[in-house]
Symmetry: C2
């Protein structure tokens, strides 16, 4: 066996270079040569790890979704004691908004993928696959809150869950466009939660 290299580690490095470019210029502005230069490697090396550009895009999308999920998990996991459903929801929603530079970059990349996904079957499957789990997690919290009497009995958890997801996504767009400051978006989320919880 010849020289051994951690393939996954290299691929992650390349994906992160791709994000840096995509968050500045969009996915279509990221050529293989640009990504290679940003990662500090040659075009040949990049192609050694990703046979086609499409492979690279799909891998990078999977990686960024994974990181976002882990970030949310870490934030929720670090909550003290036994957090209420409302707290869980609020912290998750807040982590989904582009409030700091890192998550702003992440959201910019996600949006870039979203646009491609609308026209690209393969990316669409990836983009859609996380939604049901998130929706179910939200619905479960609302169900718990209903049992505790914190949410009115006539609210449908699944409906409210999808409303929350859609709201955050819409707000995200406006924060990225600088129509809303981040704190204002968070205030709007809280206002919505005020109505959901009694």
């Amino acid at each position: 066996m010849p020289k051994r290299v951690d393939h996954d580690e290299r691929r992650h490095r390349i994906a992160e270079a791709l994000w840096r470019i995509a968050s500045e210029r969009g996915l279509d502005g990221a050529s293989l040569r640009d990504v290679a230069a940003e990662a500090g490697i040659s075009l040949g090396q990049l192609q050694h790890y990703f046979r086609t550009k499409d492979d690279m895009l799909v891998f990078a999308l999977g990686h960024i979704s994974e990181l976002a999920a882990r970030r949310i998990g870490a934030r929720v996991g670090s909550l003290a004691g036994d957090p209420s459903p409302r707290t869980l929801l609020r912290e998750t929603l807040a982590e989904m908004l582009p409030l700091d530079d890192k998550s702003r970059t992440g959201q910019l990349v996600q949006i870039a993928y979203f646009v491609r996904a609308v026209h690209d079957e393969r990316l669409r499957r990836h983009a859609k696959e996380g939604i049901p789990a998130l929706r179910e997690f939200f619905a479960a919290q609302i169900r718990r809150a209903k049992e505790g009497g914190d949410v009115a009995a006539d609210r449908d958890p699944d409906t409210e869950a999808m409303l929350l997801i859609s709201l955050v996504d819409g707000l995200t767009g406006y924060v990225l466009l600088d129509v809303l400051p981040g704190e204002e978006a968070l205030r709007l989320v809280d206002a919505h939660l005020d109505r959901l919880f009694t």
Copy 2:
């Protein structure tokens, strides 16, 4: 003076050809040659009407926003009698969702522009300019409803207006991704309105 031609009419024709391509392949998939072919004209003629590609994009964005506003205006204007604030809001929101093929195309193009706008100062100005007016229109309806006792007194019209806009935008994304069917999105809007109006 030589032959006179209606420049604006030609430009509109070209813009519409651009939309057809952009809604299928995205804005970056629309080269000048593609657009010219779709419009049934030569590349030379297209360049005669738009000196640069950027000029074409900016013009087409202005045109599509104008058409969307006109569509909403027509729908709202055709409401019988003296429509209630809730009816006005619901019909406007419904028209903003991509429920039929035409508005789906329109939304796909808007999204394509949105992504560019995040990175492009000139487009961002255009993309943002319609929001305040829409927000104020929504807020005005909610204010009217509060006076009529149809919305609780402690609701802030401006907050609720922005929540509505963001919600529809988030839902639009998921409809375009085929995560939600159109009717489901409309049902979610109605559910949200049920909570806003007493």
